[in-house]
Structures are given as structure tokens and as C-alpha cells.
Amino acid sequence: MSCRKRCKREIFKFAQYLFRLVTGTLSTDSVEDELELSTVRHRPEGLEQLEARTRFSRKELQILYRGFKNECPSGVVNEDTFKDIYAQFFPQGDASTYAHFLFNAFDTDHNGSVSFVDFVMGLSILLRGTVQEKLNWAFNLYDINKDGYITKEEMLDIMKAIYDMMGKCTYPVLKEETPRQHVEVFFQKMDKNKDGVVTIDEFIDCCQNDENIMRSMHLFENVL
């Protein structure tokens, strides 16, 4: 039944097409398509609310917003722009994979775009947060599917993305199994109960016991 209907519809469309061909009105201008790309404009909340929610001062928020808006006049960053911006910092290698993971880490509500609020919240944690919060954020970054466990495959993806950013011309030369080896080292350190996955508690425990990591967490405190 539906087959006959479909056939009828197809024949009708074909007849319409022939008719348009004969009368010369074949290509109708589709004006509607143009408007679909209407500019999405997003305005962040007021300065006071942001000041309350983050640990940045007014001036710092102003500076951040100006830079943000300069690069993304529409007020939101989509993934491609994000990748572009991040790639400019690492010209020798391919930063797109890592930027993809970063984007997912910043895009906390998973709507496909990072607004200024998301951006500044993320930065607030990274630059002004406690060590606990930073480690939490890092765990969130590594946990690609956000299920609370870091598996070896996820870690391998992240590691490969980081090594991709190095590019080709490194010393010593990058080998195929370097990321994998690095993942093994990481899991040996982090996975206490050897169940093949790293949970958040294992992660935080282990990092807090590691001096190097603790020190490096405080590294970027004075940025901005």
C-alpha cells in the first residue's frame, strides 16, 4: 500500500519536474536556506553574577571577556573555532584531537558550544581552584565518556592526542609504542587495585601523594 503511494508520489514529482523543465522555472531560489545560518548570539550573565560564581575579579573578567569576544564575536565557541584557536598555539603538531577532548571538558552542559560562562567557569577552576578541584577537572578530562572510570583505551586516546601535538620533528624520534608505554606507566602508578580502570578516588589519592604533580598544580596560579 505504501509502496503504491510512494510510486504515485514519485511519478507526481517527476511530472512536476518535467513541467518545470518545460516552462523554465526549474531552479527556484531557496531563500530560506540562507536564513538558517542566522547568527547565534549569546550574551553572558551580568558581571556581578559571574564575579560571584567565579573567583575572578571584575577587571580580570573584563579582560577575559574582551579576548573571548574578539575571537568569537557571536559569543559562543563551537568546536571548530575552538580547534582553530588551540591549533594556533601548537603549530608543529596536530592539536585537533586534544582540543576536542578539551572542548568536551569545558562544555559542561554538552550542548555543543562553549559559552563565555562555561569558559570562565572552567578557567576559574583551573587557575584559582583548590588542588582537589583541579584534579577533579583533570579526571573529567581523561574520562572521555564521563562514566566515572578511566579505562586504558580512554587513556591511550588522550595520550595519543597529547603526543600528536608534538608533531613529527622531535628529539628523540617518536615511536609508535611510546604513547602505549606511557599509558602503562600511568596505570601502574594510578591503578591501585589493578582492576584495569582508574576511579576518581584512586586518581586523587595517587596524585596527592606525588610531589611532582602537586608542585605542578600550582604552576599556573599567576596567569592572568
Partner: protein, 620 residues
């Protein structure tokens, strides 16, 4: 890294925290961040238009004027802003570069003005963004062509013919027939003979009426064989001579031989010589006949005489791809339709015996010629034949506008070049008029000054000149005093040039005889220059006034010695420290400035100038 994303650097650094847990070695120490206390707004006033921006924005590019301390030179204390006396419209783009990291080129601005502004603000033009880069490069190329055009033809106008060798002048005569009458005559004569030769080729095939003892019609060429042969010989002689002369005069013979025109020349005259060599060989005479076809190439020699023909040739060359496409698509269509027509007309006893035979029908139909020697008879054949003719029109009509637009573009370009050349003469004349106007104004001013000094009518003279002209004249006067030369007009200069040759021997002899050893002692180890400056002095002399070698300009000494005191205080002035780099003592010999013959005056004037002839120390 594009400075436009410098604002995102804090983000990138913060995101680096994501690497920390997986790092296997400790992180390096971060650089000291400078305190971000002062991030003020900078006000830039460009000819009254105020621009304001953050200081950080400007400092993104520290190797430009605005980003470095060079801008402090333009700081204006009273208004606490940076003032630039430049074009505000172009400055807008420059400031946008700092803001966005991309330099744009506005179409309506003049390219040289834009380049100047970029150079002033220390921005290299190569960083123009992709969106505007093509446009910028196109305009720049046009501008360079225009300047090159001016330069090329400028020396051509000012070349003195005596300097060129005979070969060069001959080449110039060949390339630009308008330069001399001989060249013009040669140009027209060759053109005439080309026309005559082509006409003869055409006429000699016309049937000329039967000779009484023959039955069939003879062509004119056979009837008046000798006459045509003589005409042909004469033409070929002229062409050969012309070719050899060009070959001789060409600056690069290899390049000349490779050029298209020379190949046409050779092809035009070769058949005659080959014919001369081969007339006794009977079986090759068939080939010889076909060689005569090449004589028609003489008509291409006209392209030296006609610019339009050259443009056409150049157009065809530049549209080679479009022509190729036309040919290809036609071939495709011909094959398709020929096949279809053959199979449609097969078996009905028509002329379409094979597919290649059908090619002729297809070509004739597609180009809408329609001779009618091959016509389809079946209905299917007629249907396909009509489709064939309709599509033929389309296929041919499509590439033609491209070729036409190419031709039009090249033609307009050559028109523009012609216009520029015509305008250049008036332009140069205008520049020359301005220059000589300025010089004349100064001479006028001097004369007025002179006359006013005698007549004490300064007020009358000065009020006609604006203040800057007066200051300008004062500077010119200072320059005259400095160099002890004066500005004169052309006539007097040329006259003085003639006098130089007469006076040179005289002055030289006098200087050698009367040079004092004392004056040269301090600088004997160093350079000793004896200057003969008779030229300008001569010109002054012709004006009737006596040359003054008046002041010494010595940079280190505060007082300037006048001429009268020079001779008396000679011992004082000489022990100057000759090691000082600013002073080179130059001994200028003063020639006698006679108005009439030098010999007559020398005896009379030499005692007067004996002292002057000895030493004039002038620090240069």
C-alpha cells in the same frame, strides 16, 4: 602564533593542567608574569581623528612603530596623547591590524599612499590577509608596470644619439620607425613591397585570356612569366636585405632568430631560394609547387606594421585553452552525431556510406553551413539531423564570449598604454615647467634683490612673495654662498660650457705656478685636492659680476674668516688640525674670469688675482 589569539593564551596555559597528572617528569618553572596593573587606554590623534585602544593591543607587535618605544617620539605632552600628522583613513586599517591580527587593503585607496603609510608605521605589507592579498598584489603590479613604463621610455627620450653605436641606432630605427625619417621611409617601403608581393601572388593565378596559338585559358602567371619572376625577385631581394639588416642590428641575435617575426620572415623568403636551387630537377618540381603556398605567409609580415594584428595574435595565444576546449567539444559532438546519423541512414541508399563520411555532414550542419550535398532521407535521420544543428549553435557559441572578453581586455590594455604614452609627454612638460618656474622665480628674486639694493625699494619687492617663498629663496641663497656657485638659467650655462674648454688651460697653468708651499704643508701627507671650478665661475663671470670666494665654513672654528682676512691670517688658519674628519683643506685655484678672449685679459687681470690665485682655503 597570531597575536589575535594572544588573549587566549591564559586559557591555553590553564588547559595545560590537563597534562600534569600524566607527566613523567617535573614541569619547568614558569616565566615571571609582569604585573598587569597598568593596562591603560592610549589615545592616538591622527590629524584630528582620535583613536583609542588598549596599550596591550599595540604592544602585541613590538617591532612596529606603535608597539615599540618609537611612539614616544610622537607623544604630545600638552594633550597627553600621541599625535601623528598622517592620513586618518588609512590609519584605521593599520589600527585594525593590531586589533585583529589581519591587515586589510581598502580598494579605493591609492596603492602608493597605502604603502607609504605601512612603511611609516613599520608594518611589512606581506602580512596582508588572504582576503585582500590578491587585490593588493594586482594593484601593486599595475603600479610597478606603470613606473617601469615611465622609466623605460624616459631614457629613450633623453638619449643623445651620438652616444649610441651604429648598430644600436639601427636597431632602434627598426623597432621604432617614428624616430627618424630614414626609418619611416624604410618602414613604408617594406610595407609597400609586402603588399605588392601578396598582390602578385594573387594575380598570377587569374586567367588572363588565351594566347592565339593555344586552346586553353592561361593564367596570368604563365603568360607573363618573366614579369612576375622579376617582381618576385625584387620583393625577395628587399625582404632578404631587411632580414639581414635586422639580424645584424639585433642586440641578441639568438633571441632574434627565435622570435616569431623572424621565423615568418624566413618562411616568406625561403620558397624562392629553394625554387632557385631546384628548378632543374623534374620530379621534385611537384613539391616545389606546394612550396609556393608558403609565399602567402608574407602577409603575416604585415603584423609589424599593424598593432591590431599583433593584438589578435596575442589574444589567440592567450586564449589557447579556450580554443582547445572548443575544438575538443566540437570533436566530441561531431563523433557522436556522425555515428548516430550513420546508423540512422544506414541501408537507405544515402550518401552516408561510413562514419567518417558522415563527419562532413555533421561539421557542415553544426556550423550551420548546410551545403546540401549530403542530406538525410529517413525520418529518424532528419530528426537527429535537426538536433545536431541545434546543438551545434550552442557548442560554438559558448567559448566565444571568453575569447572576445580576452581580446577586449588586451586591446584596452594597449589602448591604456598608448594613452599613458601620450599623457606622459604632457606630464613631463608639466614637471619641467614647474621646475623651471621655481628656478626662474629664484633668479627673478635675486635680480630683484640686486636691483632693490641699488634702489632701496625693498618693500616694493617683498610684498609680492609669500613668506615661505622668501624663506625658500633664502635657503637657496645660503646654498649659493656655501658652494660659491650660483644658480643660472640654461642659456648662460650652455654658453659657459663652451667657454670652459678655452679657460681650462689658462687656469691650470696659473695654479701650478703660484701655489704656496705653506698652504699645502699640513695636508701634504693627506689628500690634496686641486679643484678647477671654472664652469660655474665662468657663468658668473658672464653675468658681469666677479666671483666671490668669500667665506670659509669651518665647522669647528666659531668665526668665519672673510676673504680679506684670509690672506693676512693665513698662518693662523693653516695649522688647523687636519686630522679632524670634517675638514678637508682644498686648494681651489681661481681662474681668471674673462668675458672675452682669455689671452687678452690674462695679462691685465693676473696681477689683480695673483693673490687670489694662490690659495683659497675652503673647507668642504
Amino acid at each position: 602564533m597570531a597575536a589575535g589569539v594572544a588573549a587566549w593564551l591564559p586559557f591555553a596555559r590553564a588547559a595545560a593542567i590537563g597534562w600534569m597528572p600524566v607527566a613523567s617528569s617535573p614541569m619547568p618553572v614558569p616565566p615571571k608574569d609582569k604585573p598587569r596593573g597598568r593596562n591603560g587606554i592610549i589615545v592616538i590623534n591622527v590629524s584630528g581623528t582620535k583613536f583609542q585602544t588598549w596599550q596591550d593591543t599595540l604592544e602585541r607587535y613590538p617591532d612596529t612603530l606603535l608597539g615599540s618605544s618609537e611612539r614616544d617620539f610622537f607623544f604630545h605632552e600638552e594633550s597627553n596623547e600621541y599625535f601623528f600628522d598622517r592620513d586618518p583613513d588609512i590609519f584605521r586599517h593599520i589600527l585594525n591590524f593590531y586589533r585583529t591580527g589581519k591587515l586589510h587593503y581598502p580598494r579605493q585607496e591609492c596603492i602608493s599612499a597605502y604603502d607609504e603609510e605601512l612603511a611609516f608605521f613599520g608594518i611589512i605589507p606581506e602580512i596582508i590577509g588572504d582576503c585582500c592579498y590578491e587585490d593588493y598584489k594586482d594593484r601593486r603590479r599595475e603600479n610597478q608596470e606603470r613606473m617601469q613604463d615611465d622609466e623605460e621610455t624616459d631614457p629613450a627620450n633623453e638619449l643623445i644619439t651620438a652616444d649610441m653605436s651604429f648598430r644600436e641606432s639601427m636597431w632602434r630605427a627598426f623597432e621604432n620607425p617614428h624616430t627618424s625619417t630614414m626609418a619611416l621611409v624604410f618602414y613604408y617601403v617594406t610595407g609597400f613591397f609586402i603588399a605588392v608581393s601578396v598582390m602578385a601572388n594573387v594575380v598570377e593565378t587569374v586567367p588572363c585570356g588565351a594566347v592565339p596559338n593555344r586552346v586553353k585559358m592561361m593564367s596570368c602567371g604563365e603568360r607573363y612569366e618573366l614579369a612576375f619572376f622579376c617582381l618576385d625577385t625584387a620583393c625577395v631581394m628587399i625582404f632578404t636585405v631587411e632580414y639581414l639588416l635586422r639580424l645584424l642590428a639585433a642586440p641578441s641575435r639568438y633571441k632574434f632568430v627565435k622570435s616569431v617575426m623572424s621565423i615568418i620572415d624566413v618562411v616568406a623568403i625561403m620558397p624562392y631560394y629553394i625554387g632557385l636551387v631546384m628548378t632543374d630537377n623534374e620530379d621534385v618540381s611537384g613539391a616545389f609547387v606546394t612550396l609556393r603556398v608558403f609565399r602567402v605567409f608574407r602577409i603575416f609580415k604585415f603584423s609589424r606594421h599593424s598593432a591590431g594584428l599583433r593584438i589578435l595574435g596575442y589574444t589567440l595565444k592567450s586564449c589557447a585553452s579556450e580554443l582547445g576546449f572548443l575544438l575538443f567539444s566540437l570533436t566530441m559532438a561531431i563523433i557522436i552525431f556522425a555515428t548516430v546519423m550513420f546508423y540512422a541512414e544506414k541501408g537507405s541508399g544515402s550518401k552516408f556510406t561510413s562514419i567518417p563520411a558522415a563527419f562532413w555532414y555533421t561539421i557542415v550542419t553544426m556550423t550551420t553551413l548546410g551545403y546540401g550535398d549530403m542530406v538525410p532521407k529517413t525520418i529518424m535521420g532528419k530528426i537527429f539531423g535537426s538536433i545536431c544543428s541545434l546543438s551545434g549553435v550552442l557548442v560554438i557559441a559558448l567559448p566565444v564570449p571568453v575569447i572576445v572578453s580576452n581580446f577586449s581586455r588586451i586591446y584596452h590594455q594597449s589602448q591604456r598604454a598608448e594613452k599613458r604614452r601620450a599623457q606622459k609627454k604632457t606630464r613631463l612638460a608639466r614637471i619641467h615647467a614647474v621646475k623651471s618656474g621655481g628656478a626662474n622665480a629664484y633668479l627673478q628674486y635675486k635680480q630683484n634683490q640686486l636691483s632693490s639694493e641699488f634702489m632701496h625699494q625693498r618693500a616694493l619687492v617683498c610684498k609680492t612673495n609669500p613668506i615661505f617663498e622668501v624663506q625658500h629663496h633664502h635657503i637657496l641663497h645660503c646654498l649659493e654662498k656655501t658652494t660659491n656657485h650660483e644658480f643660472v638659467d640654461e642659456k648662460t650655462y650652455e654658453a659657459s660650457c663652451r667657454e670652459v674648454t678655452l679657460v681650462k688651460q689658462v687656469s691650470r697653468s696659473s695654479s701650478i705656478s703660484s701655489s704656496s708651499p705653506h698652504g699645502l704643508s699640513c695636508c701634504a701627507r693627506k689628500k690634496r685636492k686641486t679643484f678647477n671650478v671654472p664652469n660655474s665661475n665662468m657663468s658668473v663671470g658672464l653675468q658681469g659680476s666677479i666671483q666671490e670666494l668669500s667665506t670659509i665654513q669651518i665647522r669647528e672654528r666659531p668665526l668665519t674668516n672673510s676673504r680679506s682676512s684670509l690672506n693676512a691670517k693665513f698662518e693662523e688658519t693653516v695649522p688647523l688640525n687636519c686630522d679632524q674628519p670634517y675638514i678637508t683643506a682644498a686648494v681651489i685655484s681661481m681662474p681668471t674670469p674673462p668675458v672675452t678672449t682669455p689671452e687678452g685679459d690674462e695679462s691685465a687681470s693676473s696681477p689683480d688675482y695673483s693673490q687670489a690665485n694662490i690659495v683659497r682655503v675652503s673647507a668642504l
